[in-house]
């Protein structure tokens, strides 16, 4: 099993506003607090490499307190020079949100060259709220995503200059310097929300697929569809194309872990993911077929989830090292997933570092049967 440390870089605070996204005023953001938080979060990611994690992850979200990384490439740039071994996974850049996606090709190539080929490049559409924050037309989201991905991949693999004439993006000269170091290009991962169209798209290109903050049963269903799509495309999915992606809370014993989780893990669901219903599904962001599937299987909103829902539904893993080991084994077996992608929150910076250490000493070593395998060999490209 491979381990990636995932960070949202939240700005944790309590408030009574109806939404933590789009309209939650940035007057609540104190840059002095942000200064401390950014450094603690970056320290945690660097510490993850020190403790033996295989990769560290950053991601992109806009205008909210849930995740304060509007530019994941900026954060990756800080990590590139402070780490030497771990892969740096950008999960991912919101392709349709950019007016000039060639900039993504350029920035990822820069990071890949400087890091000596350690970059994993996630391609995402951005969640619904992001279309309110950026004003990009959500009815163009899917098409812009495919077109930008095509442009970026071609710019990495075809010798320039060449002309690109798409519906949304047009360039007389595509010829980015530098080119990425990894050949043919950095591995591409697809974090997504389970739409059948994206599942098919990722499977066809052997791009690993991952779902975040979703109940285990739903992830298992979508991963099953992904594996079927891989078979349809003439190959069997590697376990490294699928991840167990959820927060983990580990402590000396189950009771202590539960106390920490009840106090700190709930914030993401009850505050971080609180938003006005229209923000989840802006018009045209979802195909009608996917919308019907979503409405048909409609579960609780994040703000309605209880601690018991999170544990029983497999939204989080929580417990002593032995409990976490057992659950992780069950989850990875159920999903047939070769990568664990998770972040931790002990309630304070120091407590988080301690939790990471405990995990690295008491959990990780039990899953190292594949220590010599390169999880990116032939995958994601």
């Amino acid at each position: 099993m491979k381990f990636y440390y995932f960070h949202l870089m939240p700005y944790v605070l309590d408030h009574d506003e109806p939404s933590s996204w789009v309209t939650f005023s940035n007057r609540h953001y104190d840059p002095a607090v942000g200064h401390t938080l950014y450094h603690q979060y970056l320290d945690q990611l660097e510490y993850a490499e020190h403790l033996g994690w295989d990769g560290i992850c950053v991601n992109e979200h806009h205008q909210n307190c849930y995740g304060t990384m509007p530019s994941p490439n900026v954060m990756a740039a800080m990590l590139v020079r402070r780490t030497t071994r771990a892969r740096i996974a950008i999960l991912g850049n919101g392709l349709p949100l950019r007016e000039n996606p060639l900039r993504i090709a350029e920035e990822i190539a820069m990071l890949d060259v400087v890091s000596g080929g350690r970059i994993v490049s996630g391609f995402v559409r951005g969640i619904g709220a992001e279309y309110y924050s950026t004003a990009v037309n959500p009815t163009h989201s899917r098409e812009r995503f495919y077109e930008a991905a095509d442009l970026i991949l071609r710019s990495w693999t075809e010798p320039g200059p060449f002309a690109f004439d798409g519906r949304f993006y047009r360039y007389p000269f595509v010829n980015p310097w530098p080119r990425p170091l990894q050949r043919p290009h950095p591995p591409v991962w697809c974090p997504s929300q389970g739409s059948s169209e994206t599942v098919e798209w990722a499977a066809r290109r052997r791009f690993p697929y991952l779902m975040v903050f979703t109940p285990l049963a739903r992830i298992a269903q979508v991963y099953g569809e992904y594996r079927e799509a891989c078979e349809r495309n003439g190959y069997t999915a590697s376990p490294y194309q699928l991840t167990v992606n959820l927060p983990i809370v580990v402590a000396e014993n189950d009771r202590k872990a539960e106390t920490i989780a009840r106090r700190h893990a709930m914030w993401v669901y009850h505050v971080g993911l609180r938003m006005r219903p229209p923000y989840w599904q802006p018009p045209g962001y979802t195909t009608e077929a996917s919308l019907r599937r979503l409405l048909d299987t409609r579960g609780k909103m994040p703000t309605e989830l209880t601690y018991e829902d999170l544990v029983d539904g497999g939204y989080i893993i929580c417990g002593s090292p032995a409990t976490v080991r057992d659950k992780l084994r069950v989850f990875s077996d159920e999903l047939r997933a070769g990568i664990v992608c998770s972040g931790m929150n002990g309630g304070s910076h120091e407590a988080t570092l301690e939790m990471m250490q405990l995990f690295s000493e008491e959990v990780m070593p039990h899953f190292r049967e594949d220590a010599d395998v390169d999880e990116t060999a032939g995958i994601g490209r």
Binding site: T139, R276, P277, P278, Q281, G284
Partner: protein, 261 residues
Amino acid sequence: MPAPTRMVVRDTPVDLLRDGRGAPLLFLHGAGAGGRWLTFQERLAARFDVLAPSHPGHGASPAAEWIEHVSDLAFHYLDLLDTLGLGRVHAVGASFGGWVAAELATMASHRLRSLTLIDPVGIKVEGWIYPFLFGMELPELVATVFHDPMAAVALAPPDMSLDTLAIIYRQNTALARVAWNPYLYNPRLRRRLARIAAPTLLCWGAHDRLAPLVCAEAWRKEIPGATLRVFEESGHLPHLEEPDAVAAAVIEFCAERGPGR
């Protein structure tokens, strides 16, 4: 309410409501009003042959991928008039439909006997930014659009079934395709309004909070000879809140200008 008929305009299927006797009158509906035959249309049908098509993606008209800009919709309605062999018509457009009607009028004013715009959106007005309806939940939406919230019942969905929710999403998608950004206007339209040669009536709700009276003044200034009528008990949709008064105003205006019968 007349039975809907299905027609094909070039390759685009359209659901059409048509009733009444008299000169042809093309009614272009606003967001959320596709496929509905309201008191307003009923009143007009006493004097006109009222044609009320649903925009593609609205009501029972399927979405049309080729419609990417509001001008595509305006050309679509010129195609519709050609398909039906209608030479000159009275055109009435409300809200978003008013925007489409205004675009059409700047392209082919000679096809119009008259033009009535009811609280249209579609132009940029200095000092005013249209509130972003796409981000609103129902109570805020109703408060923005209606003077009397009870009037919203006329546009209430029949139920909250999967099919109904899918139709609402399809309508919002069709609207967003042409109106998300720039939001509810075409930067090119305002300068072109001077091209409208048809007699033009502007009907406006005094309490419109989406496109307030300052917008009405801008339209009146730009369209040569336009007449403005303000309806004191209405918000953004006076033809829903005061259907008799608005229909009477339209009938009177058309009667003064050519054979309306």
